[in-house]
Amino acid sequence: MARRRDVPWFASAVLGALVLTAVLAPFLAPHDPTAGDITTKLIPPVWMERGSWDHPLGTDRFGRDVLSRIIYGSRISLLVSLIAIGVAGTFGTTLGLISGYRGGLTDAVLMRLTDIGLSMPTILIAVVMVAVSEPSFRNVVLVIALLLWPRFTRQIRGETLAVKEQDFVALAVVAGRSSAWIISRHIFPNVVPTLLVISTLQVGYVILLEGTLSFLGVGVPPPNPAWGLMIADGRGFLATAWWISLFPGLAMVLTVLAVNLMGDWLRDHLDPKLRQLGSRATVLEAPTSATLGTAVEEAPIRAGAGGSGG
């Protein structure tokens, strides 16, 4: 446990580098990520026989530079996560605050809605939704946000219930403050640490979900350099040009790994309630930030609900 309290240098370094890469993409990328040139197609990485420093990680079947596409692709992964989590977080948190603070019928209805939202086979619904509504950046973000909000609502509601019992809230009520005022001034600031932890833990999940959608051809449309799309591009060339699929996948693993480690660390440091759950919460975290084509991510919520009381 002592090691967990150390600063997560690996995660910080990777995430720092990633953000810099995304912001500085035009200066870092050696080539235009979408400009192909068939005279340079399927060039292997630099350390292989026909490789050259002009294309350090090789080129794809259209002669596009793999490194440049990975660099620009970081923008897509980050933007999709930021916007989807921003939208879902705002919506989910608002509902969670209202649900927890108001209680009664509002709470009952909102919680049943959340249960239903959490019980959906996520990937399946996402695939069909995006496919039918034409794949585009906006639709991918919207669908992911739509599937994500209940995760925020459930946890923020729990936190709100706890904060509501505090003396300063009772005092504010006595002082005649409005519900909206109390929620925004007293409750919300106290749930921010939890919000931050949930958001971080969802980033990895969103990146994988976006990757999955792009891979299946129902995500961000080509010729955008989305990592999932690049991996799919290389499918037919595994035997001859494995680098097309390998490198974007590595970028994805590294990113998601860093985000997950950061999320774990934040949870251990910022969220005293989750920390108290101790070993059980740690075990069950595996599914939380997770992925898999299946909706395995449902597991922690259910198992977690059982575990925390058991």
């Binding site: 249960d115 239903i116 019980s119 959906m120 086979p121 996520t122 990937i123 399946l124 619904i125 695939v127 069909v128 939704m129 496919a131 039918v132 509504s133 990895g204 990757g211 999955t212 891979f215 299946l216 051809g217 129902v218 999932g228 991996i231 290389g234 499918r235 595994l238 035997a239 494995w242 699929s245 390998l246 996948g249 994805m252 693993v253 998601v256 790994l257 997950n260 070993s279 059980r280 740690t282 075990v283 069950l284 595996a286 599914p287 930030s289 997770a290 992925t291 898999l292 084509g293 299946t294 909706a295 395995v296 597991a299 259910r302 198992a303 609900a305 059982g306 925390s308 009381g309 058991g310």
Partner: protein, 307 residues
Amino acid sequence: MGRYLIGRVLQTVLSMLVVISIVFFLTRLSGNPVNLLLDVNATQRDHEILMHHLGLDQPLPVQYAIYVKNILVGDFGTSVLTRRPVTEHIWERLPATAELGFVAMFLSVLIGVPLGMYSAVRRGGMLDSGARVFAVLGQSMPPFWLGLMLILFFGVVLGVLPAGGRGGPLHLILPALTLGYFTSAAILRLTRSAMLEVLGSDYIKFARLKGLHEQVVLWKHGLKNALLPVVTFAVMLFVQFLGGAVVTETVFAWPGLGRLILESITTRDYPIVQAGVLVLSALYLTGNLFVDMLYSYLNPKIRHARA
């Protein structure tokens, strides 16, 4: 107990209704299916006849009611492409999905339980650290990429395993590993923590004091008691494999239900998409319901924890 169960069943029914409605509105949003069914030479009159035949000239609420009624009686219509009943297509593909899910679950348990057990017994040791890395990686790896890398290594470089398709047992290994990797990591961590808890208990200390052989203590007294959460988790995984093997099936050209849905999306064969999504969702939701019931039956503590 009764109240909890009724609530849980009700919730499942509601969830299913939501899925049904989402699918209804999505398919209505996607344009008029008549344009897909008729060829370009069809007249306005042909359009009207077919619209009437399909009930598309009715008001939306009526269409919705007809649609729900058809689902309830198991009538999913016919495929736009093959003109065969959709249910036939579904039945053809279901065994492949179930087979893959079953093997993947088996593999996850086979890898996850012993590894988890031994990393609990030798806490902090080499195996424990290795298992941690295995689990953390499992959380972070996109399954479709893992699948491709497995194909690259075992199929292309070593050439020892087939890269796709359904056939003998060899064909199952790579897709089952891909599908099972993440879950074996999850099972590993679950077994580890359950085992740690059990190993700290009095009856294990007592069993050791009695002088029982360490293996007997671990397997019989330890694992047996640690297994409850693991077993329910494994059952749940199986259900979810059924519900979402879309990705793995695509990577390995596995002729299952998930792939059928994806293929039908590309060919715009919406009756199949519709039915496929409904069948998988129904399996998924009732499976989860079943697991929850099993869990609360086995462990009464749980139902009181879900306020």
